[in-house]
Symmetry: C2
Subunit: 334 residues, 2 copies
């Protein structure tokens, strides 16, 4: 028996579920329209730490600790912790993992990291390698600005196509316990590089990757967009979402009203955030917050989460490389 | 049926094998004692590229292309490419992956990356998620020096405990084809942080992680070091290897004569390389070159490969963080 359908989609017939979750966001995210979907809103964006990197690490540690607590699970009862983040050498995840005696799988997928983690966790559960797996990620506006762009003290003006890195952290436990939505499928994406080079417009660069993965997923499963109550991309932002629609329309896909984008939704219209949110935490907090709330309250029964990542570095941009992008998809079902 | 024994060790009973491989090293590595174990030695360390980053990317692309060629496999017949490297946002792997239309799983484990990739590939094969999986990694002396230390033009003096990043790339295909060594077990490690902070001596920082994973692996499998013809660590270097021996002796492990270290072996005594080699490529080219040659020529029948990684970044060092380390182990058997 193969656990794969079509060319690229993995099937998790044993029914792994998201059985515990925790989301934590910064004050700006807490002023957005989804404030009530998150478990905790930070009073300030430092948590009393001396550097933003230490704050980001603490945020991930809090998300991990609270997820364990809500699950009634000790860390040594987990078989794996899978985590990644945006920082060089994923140091947020490495440092947070260093306080837990559990096998650690470090991953990097930029803003697609969380879906990559969910997919791998389901693989380990379906494949009888684990009973309980923790996944986590975090990002912080200030660490990302410092690393990828300019020191925030410079107060550089942002363009309308710029996205704002979400300050947030998220963690979840996947297991076979009798609660929470099922993770039924995963479609890991290929790297797509359309030659775009503008780091001020990553939404446009990522849209073709989202398109490719959605197309592959629907072909593999024989489903249409209408088979999903929500097709939740993240984080294309406003610019990238427009482009994804154009790409889907051009190939005559219907059901485009099912599309929603995490990056476009996390902040409200009154917030000066360019094209919307991004960062590894964005799709993570929106999925574990908003989407899981939709599934729990039966506002949605089946959701396709398509997490996109722009796989650039500050150095590759300066060296004139184009921006390779990726999108990983997972199906969550009530 | 569980595919796990003990607390942490995964078992691959279906017999996934390394069925194709390619190793490529720089001129300095080609002057070392293992020159004949590698498939290709570069004539210079640029391959005609303008930057060392472009060279590193090209090296990985060559390793991938040659591995496919030797396997008689087209890239679209693979189900996954798993790769990672040392550079910020693993851009070498991302850019190399962008030329291949295959689902990509980006990972980060510093110099332990290759064992992490091998373990995940075996998970995907054993779990019926894939029939053929490619793994790859690369590192380059100049890109690592520039990113983690000083521009090489500064000609900073190295300490005896410093390790030299290996210039090299390696790729392999894992499948169920009827050739090559079996990958029978994997033990993913936890992050171990003993509070060491000296980035000039990463061997000492990594030794406790190697010790922890070896201990866990032997406890899970009920084996001793003597059950392996070679216990191949990488890359502890001379300093870290000494420390691992002390840790094992202190807990009365026997069979320490089975220990060999990739970082200590890749360069010869006449080469000015401090404590030895390191870098994501080191354990990768030594495993796919030297170790697989030992298995093929029956000089060894069963080898435990324990790949270690120091999970620091240039920023965490400056911010006074200690160095979290990890070690992932895989068993290769004739």
């Amino acid at each position: 028996m193969s656990n794969r359908i079509g060319r690229r989609t993995l099937v998790f017939s044993k029914g792994p579920r998201i059985t515990s979750r925790y989301t934590l966001v910064g004050p700006r995210e807490g002023r957005g329209p989804h404030a009530l979907d998150f478990h905790e809103i930070m009073g300030d964006d430092t948590l009393g730490q001396k550097t933003a990197e230490k704050t980001e690490r603490l945020m991930l540690e809090i998300a991990i600790a609270k997820t364990l607590e809500q699950h009634g699970t000790e860390v040594h009862d987990l078989q794996f912790l899978i985590a990644g983040d945006l920082l060089n050498q994923i140091t947020t995840s490495n440092l947070a993992a260093s306080t837990h005696a559990v096998p650690f799988i470090g991953i990097y997928g930029a803003c697609s990291t969380f879906a990559e983690a969910l997919g791998l966790a389901a693989v380990l559960l379906q494949g009888d390698f684990a009973d309980q797996v923790m996944v986590g990620t975090a990002s912080h506006y200030q660490t990302a600005e410092r690393q990828f762009r300019y020191p925030i003290e410079l107060n550089v003006q942002h363009l309308a196509t710029n996205q704002v890195t979400v300050t947030g952290a998220a963690a979840a436990i996947l297991s076979f316990a009798d609660r929470g939505p099922h993770l039924t499928h995963a479609t890991f994406g290929q790297v797509v590089d359309m030659g775009l080079k503008d780091p001020q417009d990553m939404g446009s660069a990522m849209a073709p990757a989202a398109f490719q993965t959605i197309k592959d997923h629907l072909a593999d499963t024989g489903r249409s967009l209408e088979d999903y109550d929500i097709v939740f991309t993240g984080d294309l932002g406003k610019q990238g979402s427009k482009m994804l629609r154009v790409l889907l329309e051009r190939e005559n896909y219907t059901g485009l009203e099912r599309l929603q984008d995490g990056g476009s939704r996390i902040f409200g219209p009154g917030q000066a955030v360019g094209a919307g949110g991004s960062g590894a935490a964005c799709i993570a907090v929106m999925t574990l917050g908003y989407i899981l709330n939709c599934l729990e309250s039966a506002k949605a029964k089946r959701v396709l989460v398509v997490a996109t990542g722009a796989l650039l570095s500050a150095l590759t941009v300066l060296q004139g490389e184009s921006i390779p992008c990726i999108a990983h998809a997972v199906v969550l079902e009530q």
